[in-house]
């Protein structure tokens, strides 16, 4: 008989990124001091920044390892493997783990560590990546032009985020705030933005959010797909598609399968709520790299049948994506065809 796995559930892990001075530590302190009843183990990048007696605090110095001859997907954080490996052995001491990264940290190796290492993959689950952004100064970091081949870390941090805390809104002018929000949305239209002063965001919005949960996509602000302008010379974008009508699921499935297979490494995340011909239920879809999941959920009832879809990633071609998406719309013929098959 097959041996069953251990029953202890995976430990939820929240990653906090953000540039120096954005207020990461303020947010971390808030998470540690607020009365939420959770015991939190913290991995922070500099020792002694956070001084909470009860919290289990470990310091880390970023050590990035390329696992396999320079393949980007195999770049992981050696320090996190070590530290989390030790924390796993004390798992009865805490309920969740929060990782604070340095301002310059690339979030990709952090996220990849959780599925490249077999031990961590089994013991932990990435709950969400939260990026803290300084409302007044972020734009200049985002617009900074880097040398060819050098990633702009602030861009990556926003592209990978599930939640963005727009901090220090008290010192930014309304125009500055509007500009930075516009820039954030052009990079990652899928992340929810929380304006804050002293990182005063309701922690329920940041912890245990299950950023990959399908229901959460349904609940996302419908405005998340508003079309945005590209920032100057930017390879990371998000492409939102919003169109009324019904899709031919046959064409859609074929297209998505091909797209994610081909560009899975470039597309960090994609998600959508779709209207399918001959179905009165919403089709909710979510993918990370090439692994994707879609299912019919709630009925449309009287709501307008609008397809909403978003891709976040590198080198996305808005026109190509939109055109190929539009090519999946049901025609009268395909409607009949699929009717016959059902």
């Amino acid at each position: 008989m097959e041996q069953e796995e251990k029953v202890l559930g995976p430990i939820p892990v929240t990653v906090i990124t953000g540039f120096l001075g954005s207020g990461k530590t303020t947010l971390l302190n808030r998470i540690l001091t607020e009365n939420h009843g959770m015991r939190i183990a913290v991995i922070e990048n500099e020792f002694g920044e956070v001084g909470i007696d009860d919290a289990l605090v470990l310091s880390s110095e970023e050590e990035i390892f390329e696992m396999n001859n320079g393949c980007i997907c195999c770049t992981v954080r050696g320090d996190l493997i070590r530290i989390l490996g030790n924390l796993i052995k004390r798992r009865d001491k805490f309920d969740r783990i929060v990782i604070e990264t340095t301002g310059m940290a690339d979030p990709a190796p952090v996220a990849q560590t959780f599925f490249v290492d077999d031990e961590l993959r089994a013991a932990c689950k990435l709950d969400a990546i939260i990026t803290v952004v300084d409302a007044k100064h972020a734009l200049q970091h985002l617009l900074e032009v880097k040398e060819e081949g050098v990633e702009n870390e602030s861009v990556e941090q926003i592209a990978f985020a599930d939640r963005i805390v727009l901090n220090k809104t008290d010192i930014a002018t309304p125009q500055e705030q509007a500009d930075v929000i516009k820039a954030i949305k052009s990079l990652n239209a899928g992340a929810t933005i929380y304006p804050a002063v002293n990182a005063n965001v309701d922690l329920k919005e940041l912890l245990d959010i299950g950023a990959f949960d399908l229901q959460r996509i349904m609940d996302t602000d419908p405005a998340f797909l508003t079309d945005t302008e590209h920032m100057h010379d930017q390879s990371v974008t998000s492409v939102g598609i919003e169109v009324e009508g019904a899709l031919d699921i046959e064409k859609l499935n074929g297209w998505l399968g091909m797209l994610l297979g081909e560009k899975g490494t470039d597309i960090y995340r994609s998600k959508g709520i779709l209207s399918i011909a001959d179905s009165d239920e919403r089709y909710v879809f979510h993918a990370v790299h090439m692994l994707f999941n879609g299912e019919f959920t709630t009925k449309w009832e009287d709501a307008p049948r609008v397809n909403r879809m978003i891709f976040i990633g590198k080198n996305l071609d808005r026109k190509e994506l939109t055109d190929s998406f539009m090519a999946c719309m049901a025609t009268e013929n395909s409607k009949k065809k699929s009717k016959v098959k059902v």
Partner: protein, 248 residues
Amino acid sequence: MIAVNLLTKNPVLTLNGINVFRDQFCAVKNVNLDFEAGELVALSGRNGAGKSSLLLAIAGLTNFTGTLKFKESECHHGHHQPGIGYVPQRANLRWDLPMRAIDVVLTGTAGDHHLAGYKNKSKRVKLAWEALELVEGSHLGDRLLSTLSGGQAQRILIARSLVSKPEVLLLDEPLSGLDAPSSQRILDLLKQRANEGTLIIAAMHELDIVQGHFSRAVLLSGEVIADGAPTQVIPTLYVNPTLSEVTV
């Protein structure tokens, strides 16, 4: 039908002067191979020999030059052939998503003309459960991905590719991480599919298993360096597991 295929030696898949590029490197060059229906082929060679790249090219998932024909029709990069199924390497995928195993199998109903039409979810779900049963994974269907062992996860992935009943099944290291009994089950299953006419091409590093179970082995090292019956081809390299010398 299958017998005719074998007699007339009609290749189901033809590779002619294929070069596969990965990030500007040529991962494998000048591949000329014919495959017939019902063959159980192992692609072997060390890490970096080009096994995965060649599979991706056949699956239409990466750029290549040369001519690749599936049943007489030419294949191109980016054009998914519905008759070709691909099982990626388990380690390259994310298993921390809050999805059930059956949901992953269900995604195998996408991209296939016969199944995608079943917008009726219960039908697709039924097919997915049947595929799960093929890999003896029915009891895993409702489990969360994060609770699956490596071996169980691999079986889920294989089930995902079997949903669409492909004519060519490509597998990247399908036995990696499986224990002996699970490996045996998967091998039996692959053999059964091959007997029913499916061409199966698997990147394999378990050379002892290739010798014992596969009908043909293609050895790669940036190009095809040997092709033939596993018993003739394999001993010329190394028998796995083994410590092989690394030349710097």
